[in-house]
């Protein structure tokens, strides 16, 4: 009740911002992070499951942390649907490739959920070389009343047993356990950058720099190679695969993006090896924007189908583009994420930031797209109203349940009070991984070792 006038005022004030978006985000109802920042804690992937009930994160140390949304309770309405830790497990360990004398990083590159088919949850997690299928299940009962051992587990003396009893299940504290059910290894020479579950729920694909393999969930010692762009003569290599994804509805269709800024759509029905694309998406280069770094900034870092399956979204260094599957010669929409960096490309090349791989996501209705930037900023673009907003994932400005304030980067000379100048941006604070709840306006933003979850105020 105290909040209402506050909200009204805010709402009014925010109305000028709400013209950008029809909803306003509250800052983190939960900020989850480790107290000590080590390299291993850096979050490397974030993914909601198909219902949005679970949120999985993977980190550089090979761990997976799953958060579960609390059921709404009438007793505590303000804790509406908060996310709390549900399960933590070590998915991948560092390995050593003895043949090549190389260490294989345990960093989790991608997590993808399988749709839920029974009480247990299944997800795929991958590092550079190996994909694993994990089963996450709950145990809230345990059997009691064994015949051969007592409650402490000690074996009973058989000669002392005079009666037989049937063990009964008694409730216990909830225990969530994760078990590795499949390990899909030794199929990739190069580093895996993507995994994607097929809509048939029986197969999935894994993509590395030069090849894409198709797996059946039941078979771990075999995979089909469906794309191979390794040239016979490696001297001719000029392009690598950067991301790949299955169509959300057509189990025969998938896309993959390249370092040259192109997207290929392939149909697995045409041939076993999909080296010939069915569609080829490429935008002709704008000669006025040509620079030394044109090739590098055109490399696509992420590709995502819309939920409808009609569009694909790609992220390159400076822009997000939306493509209609029916039009290959150019995107239908282009959004500038941080065009003010165009004049800084030389410095960004020097500190390697130009190679940062930003991801992009659709909201549930495909009307808003979101991607990250530097200085812990992330951007949202409303495709219908063409409005955009820049928000910041940071502890300092976020009181619980206060409304996030839009940020602005100042390019020219005069800097207004709340603006930040390009030269003040912190390039070590980059938001590469974000996720959007499949049906609600809840977003998860990974900022180095912190995970921010923002929820929509409107209700």
């Amino acid at each position: 009740m105290v909040l209402l006038p506050f909200l009204n005022y805010r709402f009014r004030k925010m109305k000028c911002f709400s013209r950008y978006l029809s909803y306003i985000f509250r800052p983190a109802t939960s900020i989850l992070s480790c107290s000590c920042h080590t390299e291993a804690d850096i979050i490397s992937t974030v993914e909601f499951n198909h219902t949005g009930e679970l949120l999985a994160t993977g980190d550089k140390g090979g761990r997976v942390v799953i958060f579960q949304r609390e059921q709404e309770s009438k007793n505590q309405p303000h804790r509406r649907g908060e996310y709390n830790v549900y399960s933590t497990f070590q998915s991948h360990e560092p390995e050593f490739d003895y043949l090549k004398s190389l260490e294989i990083e345990e960093k989790i590159n991608k997590i993808r959920w399988l749709p839920q088919q029974n009480a247990a949850y299944f997800l795929l997690s991958t590092n550079d070389k190996t994909v694993k299928l994990w089963k996450v299940s709950e145990r809230d009962k345990r059997p009691e009343g064994y015949n051969l051992k007592d409650e402490d587990g000690r074996l009973r003396d058989p000669s002392m047993i005079t009666t037989l009893r049937v063990p009964v299940l008694r409730p216990m504290d909830l225990m969530v356990e994760a078990t590795p059910r499949r390990v899909f290894a030794n199929a990739h020479t190069y580093h895996i950058n993507s995994i994607s579950v097929n809509s048939d729920y029986e197969t999935y694909m894994s993509a590395d720099d030069l090849r894409i393999n198709l797996w059946n969930f039941e078979i771990t010692n075999q995979s089909f190679n469906i794309v191979d762009i390794k040239p016979a003569n490696m001297e001719e290599l000029t392009e690598v695969i950067t991301a790949a994804e299955f169509h959300p509805h057509h189990c025969n269709t998938f896309v993959y993006s390249s370092s040259k800024g192109t997207i290929r759509l392939c149909d697995m029905r045409t041939s076993a090896l999909c080296d010939r694309h069915a569609k080829f998406f490429e935008e002709p280069e704008d000669p006025s924007n040509r620079s030394f770094f044109s090739e590098i900034i055109s490399s696509i870092s992420d590709v995502k189908f819309s939920h409808s399956g009609r569009y694909i979204m790609t992220r390159d260094y400076l822009t997000v583009k939306v493509w209609d599957l029916n039009m290959e010669n150019r995107p239908i929409e282009t959004y500038q994420v941080h065009d003010y960096l165009r004049s800084k490309l030389c410095s960004l090349y020097e500190n390697d930031c130009i190679f940062d791989k930003f991801e992009c996501v659709w909201n549930g209705s495909d009307s808003v797209i979101m991607t990250g930037s530097y200085n812990n900023f992330f951007r949202m673009f409303d495709r219908n109203t063409k409005r955009d907003v820049t928000l910041e994932a940071s502890r300092e400005n976020s009181k619980p349940r206060a409304i996030l304030k839009p940020r602005k980067v100042c390019v020219g000379g005069k800097r207004r009070k709340d603006e930040i100048s390009v030269d003040s941006l912190d390039f070590s604070k980059k938001i590469l991984h974000t996720a959007w709840h499949p049906s609600e306006n809840i977003i998860a933003v990974a900022a180095t070792n912190n995970l921010y979850i923002f929820q929509d105020k409107v209700n």
Partner: protein, 198 residues
């Protein structure tokens, strides 16, 4: 061509130098990166390909520059060469070597390029052996002249037959000479091939 002493305005010069220095800076960065990647146990394939493509494009652009720029570009020779070798070695480590041909219009390389040993190898191959010796009177070695093949040495004949004797000896030695000439030429070919590495 070199050292022609072209007059130009100071502003043009400065512009060129500024553009040159930024290009130089970036190319040096490319070199540093590639060398750093080379030191890594497992170089990043994605980044290496991007940088290699960028440098390749830049060297292609360089080919299109005007002749006047060649003089300025001569300053970049060392970095481009170093870069080519750095790229080659890193890509070799990655199990591939990208064929980056050195730009053809850079100062000292022009001089070196004009030497073009490879052409002279084919020069030797294209010409028939006879043409080389067309200045030399080879009538004595013509096959029309009936000379018996090499004969075992005989005791010196009568004085009347002496003039005839010179021919067989000449013939045998001339046959040898032709043999020797032909051997020399094929050896020369062989040596040229090794030198050029073709």
């Amino acid at each position: 061509m070199l050292g022609r002493g072209l007059k130009r305005k100071l502003s043009d010069y400065e512009e060129n130098m500024a553009g040159l220095s930024s290009r130089q800076l970036v190319l040096n960065m490319c070199l540093t990166k590639l060398q750093t990647y080379k030191m890594l146990v497992e170089p990043n394939l994605h980044r290496s390909v991007l940088i290699a493509n960028t440098v390749q494009q830049e060297s292609n652009c360089c080919d299109l520059r005007s002749a006047e720029d060649q003089i300025e570009n001569s300053l970049l020779i060392v970095s481009d060469d170093d870069m080519s070798s750095a790229i080659s070695s890193i890509l070799k480590d990655l199990d591939f070597v990208e064929d980056i041909s050195p730009p053809t219009c850079l100062g000292a390389e022009c001089v070196f390029g004009s030497f073009e040993i490879s052409n002279s190898t084919s020069y030797l191959k294209d010409l028939a052996i006879d043409d080389i010796f067309e200045d030399i009177d080879t009538s004595m070695y013509d096959s029309d002249f009936c000379c018996p093949p090499l004969m075992p040495p005989r005791p010196p004949p009568l004085a009347a037959e002496e003039p005839l004797k010179t021919f067989p000896s000449c013939n045998s030695s001339s046959a040898n000479n032709i043999q020797i000439c032909r051997t020399d030429l094929s050896e020369l070919d062989h040596i040229m091939e090794i030198l050029v590495g073709s």
